[in-house]
Amino acid sequence: MSILKKLRIPALLGVGIVAASLVPSGASSHREAPLITEDPVADNTDVYAFRSPDAPDTVTLVANWIPMEEPAGGPNFYNFGEDVLYQIHVDNDGDAEPDITYEWRFTTEIQNPDTFLYNTGPITSINDADFNYRQFYDVSVVKNGVRTVLGSDLAVPPNNIGPRSTPNYAAVAAQGVHTLGGGVKSFAGQRDDPFYVDLGSAFDLLGLRPFNGAHAIPLPTAAGVDGVGGFNTHSIALQVPISELTTGGSPIIGVYSQTKRQQTRVLSPTGPGSAPRNSGSFVNVSRLGMPLVNEVIIPLGQKDRFNASEPSGDAQFLGLVQDPEPARLIDALYPIEVPPAPRSDLVAIFLTGLPGLNQPPNVKPSEMIRLNTSTPVTGSPNPMGVLAGDNQGFPNGRRLVDDVVDIELRALAGATPFTPAFNRSPNNALGDGVNANDLPFLSAFPYVATPHQGYEHPHHKVGSTSPQPPGPTVTTGVTTTTAPGATTTTTAPPTTSSTIPGCVIDKRYANIIQRLPDGCSFST
């Protein structure tokens, strides 16, 4: 029997109102462009493409939408947009045009519209009668101008509400893995956000807590804090045989996602027309391939344009990759030299793929994740990917485990074999101090971790981190870490004092710093 039948609805109404106030206003790196921040269900946060570790003849594609889902965000929890067209594109011949497009459309079914409850009792299966606010989807593939439906009316598992509502969540969510024809598996639903980054510091003038003392506005050094930790997202995952994707003759594929909405939306105040009416062609509102490109490479004035654009037109953004603002900021905010522009190394990493690894023949530069599907799956992936000699990792595709923030930081600083003069400490040790996801990934499809539940969950965990590779050996009162060929520096453990050692702030910031911290001065 449902709880609704046992309890009187008015008694629960107060609970619903209180719960609603718990929904955060939200702010994160995922909100990468002004317009898309107003449209979370269309806001694509990350894309992953990797050979499936337990099914190496397949590739798993994962794309996430709805950034920074507060797990306790009831009573109206998170859902895919019914009026949104979700897409993952595959370019298999390097011409910057999608050759294969996977599409998802969602529908919502409210079993009982006379209650505010998301569920009217414990949800013990994906088809549970008490699972009130349900979603289903169709997934199709478009090849050569022909759309083929791969699966219809596929069920989306519920949000992870809490121990009363979703007591055996992992088992229910597993029922959301659908096996389709042709060796394809599909999943769509809430997951833990697999992205990990020190958001709070990164967007505080490009702060890296482990390097706080070296910043132009120094702060006490600290461990990284996973700003996305404890938050969920909505994942779409598809596992596809490699043979279905590499029909262009090369084992290298380019992967990116797009989110589309119809051009016109009309809101009416009353009557049957009170539901929004969308019409017109579907147009791009979000686009994502390589992580962090639109977030930190594309400037504010062009971010919305980037989201609306196609990879085939990426020549317009070439200059921004050749001379990226974050590299200039690293140089300005830290005493770290970076390679001069124009940066052909970054063009290879972000736009063409690495020659000899994941660059397609005669590639047309465009922003997408490039995966060489012939690279063997490694049993022990290194989160630093290619920069650690693990050629199956980022930027050869992107695995869930890959530390794309640190890899890109080092790439921007020139700490790759492309620019040997800059591939040294501290450039090759840069990192945000967050080196792992806050939850373990699954060993089987869809791989993305089980979402946090709303009843009890942590946020911003400090210490789900490890030091990024130290150049020197550092001895503290607690731990010794050694790297070959390094010099030794000894220091005392840091304190929590607000004293800032060597606080000399670059005079270029004099016009934006209203009040200097105690003990600080501007450089002359």
Binding site: T107, Q111, S152, P272, L354, P440, V478
Partner: protein, 302 residues
Amino acid sequence: MGERSAGRLVRQGGVVAAGLALGIGGIAVFGNDDGPSYTPGTPSVTAFSFATSVPEGPARAAEVIPVLATEPADAAGAVTAFLQPLADGTPEQAYALLDEPSRKRFPTMAAWIRSQADRANPVTFEVGDVRPNRERPGAFEVDLTATHSPSLDATRGLVPGRSSSMWLVRREADAWRVSAEPLSFRPVLPAESAATDVVQAWVTLLAACEQSSAAQLQVRAGLYGPSTFVQAPCQQRGTWSAGQPVGLDSTPDPKAFLAAFGPEVGTWARLVPVQGPDSKFLAAVAPMGDTWRVMGVAVGSQ
């Protein structure tokens, strides 16, 4: 960097050394909690384990745009020459006939080919009247009737079994060129009275708890709208009857249909009142070729 004084460099060098030391030490101290295990990072490799150069291959071949064997003689001929390849499944043969605005919309052949998935291309067609377009000097409107392979999905919307449409043809550089999309497109609907018969048969099967047979009269297995309505006929003893079709504005909650198909759904969908012994609802029907099929259910106005 070049403008920085030597003193400042020294000062900052000290800062970065201290920062690095403090940072690493700090993490060593703070990182020891009960969080998940992690793999310590390693410095970037000094050399890639793959060759960072590839031999130059042949230059990427430019897209081949098929050349027209013969230029259409008039506006009607242009529409025929444009639509026949689409009916034949060779859209690349139609690309050269796109007018300038359409070529901007589909700048590459690849983009044009991809767009076919969203088009209601004809199976057969017949060109009708031709007349000047009043708003575009030198352009003509061409009437068309066509048959299509009927379908309904939330991405492409309704593809009717039959349609009447009007196409725009321009004169560009002494040649006739066609706009990619028609100026107007109107589905030809089956007789509305047939909708009542279909819904009556459907609800009768539901009342007999023959859901799988009833699904044969649906557009698809899953229906738009609250599923509880569909369960009622099997649960209530008595007679169920279907009434006369009405417009989509007869339900106060058309959200599911509008979200899936946009406001155009109001032009082709119909609602058929369904009355049972103890309850009632509206069955939404869509034209599928020359008949109707149930696509959803909705609550009726009180």
